[in-house]
Symmetry: C2
């Protein structure tokens, strides 16, 4: 199964040489160099886009939404975004939470490296009411339509502010979550919080499309950063110009929208199906991710190809068919989820599934049309339940000396 691991050996030298060789050699000369790179890998806070969007999936994640407290308005929100930005830059560099936190550092991440930590900040629809910025609220934050399969818990949906935390070490991620919560101080309170996970780097030799808790490869058809239209699909463009008297919306340029759905998987029902049946539900092979029309994971689906029975090899209600960009006017989003598992209910049912996070330049041309279509005829629907939902406008990355959202809050 791990045959590929050996084959990767030669190429691994690249990372092996760069990895912990210098940094870690002093204290742990016998540690495999590339292992140490899990700790030493660092994502950049500053940039055109916020981190945590195109950053490779991390092993541990926290999603947390905050509401501004009763006394807090635009001034407090701006101060909070400044604190959080300072904190995020420090933490992502592997430092302790010095100036950003409301107190000293908790020490939870002591002696771990940055471990690919990212913090990503977004604003919910209600944020603009709370800060008197209704006039600046972008249309992308209009409420999502109701879907027939929604079973949404309002207490775990939406929120003024949203923070996505990811890292390849669970203590580093938890450390950041605590620091973010403490730095909120009296300005904002946690509205909801969810924990997720993905595969540990190195656990698979597969160059890796994530596998979800249904056992399916998840994200095969994701837009690739190398695609010519990747940026226009995922990131909000700079406005061509505003009409006279209209407030500039350029604060969102380089940003994106995150649609967040807690999607519970009804695993007991799903696992009663044969693998062949599961594959017809999805339209892809479970082991390789190849479409049922043939080829490998990266082969394009042939939606017209008939199977042995004369019907389409990829059934008409298969999840992959219905959600394919070709069937949705090219609607595309970058899916970057975490799996979740919050234990086993008293009746023995696992409370597990997907913290679905998808990124797009416009939710009404990304998530919404695809989900509308899935809502009508997806063979997967009986096996999942959308339990929480949120949409957040995620500003572009902060420049040096700037904080996330500054162009909105100080213009």
């Amino acid at each position: 199964m791990l045959g590929g691991a050996g084959a990767a050996g030669a190429a691994g030298l690249v990372l092996g040489a760069a990895g912990g060789a210098t940094g870690y050699a002093a204290t742990r000369p016998e540690a495999p160099a590339a292992l140490a790179s899990i700790g030493s890998t660092e994502a950049m806070f500053h940039g055109k886009h916020q981190p945590g969007i195109t950053t490779p999936l991390q092993a541990s994640g926290h999603l947390v939404a905050f509401d501004l407290t009763a006394g807090a308005g635009r001034t407090e929100a701006a101060a909070l975004m400044r604190r959080w930005s300072v904190l995020a830059e420090e933490l992502m560099a592997g430092s302790s939470a010095g100036s950003g936190g409301s107190g000293g550092d908790t020490g939870i991440a002591l002696d771990a490296g940055p471990s690919s930590l990212t913090l990503t900040f977004g604003f919910g629809r209600t944020f603009f009411d709370r800060t008197g910025l209704q006039g600046r609220r972008p249309a992308g934050l209009d409420p999502l339509p109701a879907f027939s399969s929604d079973h949404l818990d309002p207490g775990r949906s939406n929120g003024d502010l949203w923070v996505q935390i990811g890292a390849d070490d669970a203590l580093v991620a938890f450390h950041a979550l605590r620091a973010v919560q403490r730095a909120a101080g009296s300005a904002a309170r946690v509205r909801w919080q969810m924990n997720g996970f993905n595969r540990t780097p190195g656990a698979t030799a597969r160059p890796m499309t994530a596998r979800n808790l249904m056992g399916q490869l998840d994200g095969t058809n994701n837009p690739k950063p190398a695609d010519a239209d990747f940026d226009t699909r995922i990131f909000v463009p700079a406005p061509a110009g505003s009409a006279a008297g209209e407030p500039a919306q350029d604060w969102l340029a380089g940003g994106s929208y995150a649609v967040v759905r807690r999607i519970r998987m009804l695993l007991d029902d799903w696992e009663k199906l044969s693998v062949a049946h599961q594959e017809r539900v999805i339209g892809r092979r479970k082991d390789t991710g190849a479409p049922l029309s043939g080829g490998s994971e990266t082969t394009a689906m042939d939606l017209d190809k008939p199977g042995a029975d004369g019907k389409p090899a990829i059934p008409s209600n298969a999840h992959a068919r219905i959600s394919s960009p070709g069937k949705n006017g090219g609607a595309a989003m970058l899916r970057r989820p975490f799996s979740y598992h919050d234990g086993i209910d008293p009746d023995g049912t696992p409370d597990a599934g997907l913290l679905f996070v998808c990124w797009q330049a416009d939710p009404f041309r990304g998530f919404v049309p695809v989900q509308r279509k899935l809502d009508r005829g997806d063979a997967l629907s009986p096996f999942i339940r959308h339990e929480a939902s949120g949409v957040f406008a995620v500003p572009g990355g902060a420049a040096k000396g700037e904080y996330v959202g500054q162009r909105l809050l100080e213009s």
Copy 2:
């Protein structure tokens, strides 16, 4: 503190927003070889002892207790232990759950390696009533005394059967949990289940004592397998001989007792203390783990050494002093915990702490005397709350062709 990590950062991988954009799928076929060793590391199912006791801490863990169902007795329990043993051997070798499960494999661990997966099985006190084996119940399963600081939830305590699952990949661990639950079939139902985590291998350069969510090194004073008395302290010895007519208790030879406590940390209160104050509560330095009497983490505590104020440098009620074997007639246990984080309560308090698991040849000479002492005067007590408890007799490892507990269930 993070100087080492910072130094490594220079040599480490740096993922800019754009750098990350290349993503896994297209341009990361060259998975570093040593990274892949996380996946390819395999623990052995067969042996003198069960795995998961002296196995290095894993990044992900599940603790799950089962109760036998109404119709199930000794025969069904034996069949279940046989199914679980076959399953554990398969899963730990990196195979899918073929013959062990009640259905096909879920596919959740497809293309991952064994990732240091271990499954460890134990019997609770009530197991012996349910299987008509009361006469074989060892004294080590006598009920624990009540401690004044207990706030135990009976629904999350004890149980007929206990399974500890650990792996360095969260999907591999979840895959095993699902397989174990399915293989229980109609013989046993989940009583409680908890999720935990530790640092990812390679996230720290430190040869690693775990750090817990209070930010403290946890397990510094653990007995080491190289210690002359390690085996006699941790593993149940073969009985010298049984009196005539007495049932042989040799089924537990090579086994151990696990004491499991869900210890919630009152982190909001804890984090209000200064680091200096926290260190006096513990008796050790937070960054290095060195005792306050001086030296490094591995230096023995000098309990009599005075501090600057003339009082003992390690305060009289410090956690490390009170729990030290020297103050407890040599009582020692092997602490092998997971941290846990089950989200944030509506009032903003984290539901987080330690899934404390300790191993000893006799709980009444290991956990009990130490906990009695801590219960009376540990400076750490105001910051923790024991919320669940269980004690399980963990048989020795299964020989080839044998299943765990066979010597109890078939003698």
